[in-house]
């Protein structure tokens, strides 16, 4: 069988052992705490006005989300314990997302701005209803 040829297999995991059950429990607690904090902020935001603080909390939620993603990738998927070259071959292509997010969200926003400027229907729609 191809799989059991000595160059591929059994030595592969011995070279970079994982932290064991202790590490798993530690990361589980971190993930749970981060999720609870995220949910807490989510509840808090429900009836909040869209002011600066509201958008600041949005930023906090995004940071918490990326933090959780880091724990899952680094420890559960074990990428942190792989060779540097291996990490780079996965990590560097992911940097494309930075451009994707900036470019496409800016594009969406620009579309809205031009609609509000030139489209009478959207213009009326975008006027917030009178407060009671």
């Amino acid at each position: 069988m191809q799989h059991s040829s000595p160059i591929n297999a059994p030595h592969a995991h011995e070279a970079h052992p994982s932290g064991g059950v202790k590490e798993v429990i530690r990361i589980t607690i971190y993930l749970s705490v981060l999720t609870i904090v995220e949910l807490g902020i989510g509840y808090w935001r429900i009836d909040m006005e869209e002011n600066f603080f509201f958008h600041f909390l949005s930023g906090v939620i995004i940071i918490l989300m990326l933090w959780k993603a880091f724990y899952i990738i680094a420890y559960f998927m074990h990428l942190k314990h792989e060779l540097r070259n291996m990490i780079m071959t996965i990590g560097i292509p992911m940097l494309l997302f930075i451009w994707f997010i900036i470019a496409f969200l800016h594009d969406g926003n620009a579309f809205k701005e031009s609609n509000m400027k030139y489209d009478k229907y959207k213009q009326e729609k975008s006027i917030p209803p009178a407060k009671k």
Partner: protein
């Protein structure tokens, strides 16, 4: 001269005779597959973001996702059900890690136990999603139909339900295939396939896929339910 050249080639990382990334090739290709899959999910999520940024108003997720199974009509419990789903997925990811680690120790019994727990977690998550989908469908939400009004009181943006069902559906499809893969792993473990092979590397690859499903949910959960 010739001997020196040979010696240098031998120490080069890509000169052959060694594993430059020190992972099995199947595992490396699983990583590359997950990378391409994350671009697919990324494309869907960024499309969602673009449409949302281009909309003048958008439905409030706390109004759309406020229900809970077996709760009486009119219950207002935003985020509760989805947080339970999130924890189910995190816990099933944990049992998967334990299965992978047990595999590295060649501990068949623990592998079987944790794989079964992971499969149960996957089914429970799918059940939760099926309930949520059928509930939303009952309320009139589906592809091309959005009963939830925008925050400013205008007719609901159709992108809200379209993206919700497409992205959670695509994620649910991944959960389903992950469960199927885990069931196959369980059958192979019970048949002593990995014992005979001498290593449980296949479980590690299935584990990578399962963690990826959990990873995607972290993003889906945040952008759909918290924003």
């Amino acid at each position: 001269m010739t001997t020196t050249t040979t010696a240098t080639t031998g120490t080069k990382l890509w000169g052959g005779g060694k594993s430059p990334f020190n992972v099995e090739y199947g595992k490396l290709l699983m990583w590359y597959f997950l990378m391409s899959d994350s671009f697919t999910f990324g494309a869907l999520l960024i499309a969602y973001g673009t449409i949302r940024f281009s909309a003048t108003s958008w439905p409030d997720p706390d109004v759309a996702f406020k229900t809970f199974p077996f709760a009486p009509e009119g219950t207002n419990a935003p985020l509760v059900f989805v947080s339970i789903m999130t924890f189910i997925l995190i816990i099933s990811s944990v049992t998967m890690v334990l299965a992978v680690q047990a595999g590295q120790r060649m501990d068949k019994k623990t592998v079987v136990k944790n794989l079964i727990l992971t499969i149960i977690g996957g089914f429970v998550f799918l059940g939760c999603q099926a309930w949520e989908w059928s509930h939303l469908h009952h309320d009139g939400a589906w592809w091309g139909s959005n009963p939830f009004l925008n925050v400013d009181g205008t007719k609901g943006e159709i992108g809200f339900t379209n993206f919700f069902f497409t992205i959670t559906g695509f994620h649910g499809f991944h959960v389903f295939s992950g469960v199927v893969i885990n069931i196959i792993m369980l059958i192979m473990t019970l048949n002593n396939v990995f014992e005979r092979r001498g290593h449980y590397l296949m479980i590690e690859k299935a584990g990578l896929y399962w963690h990826f499903v959990d990873l995607v949910w972290v993003f889906v959960f945040t952008v759909f339910y918290l924003f």
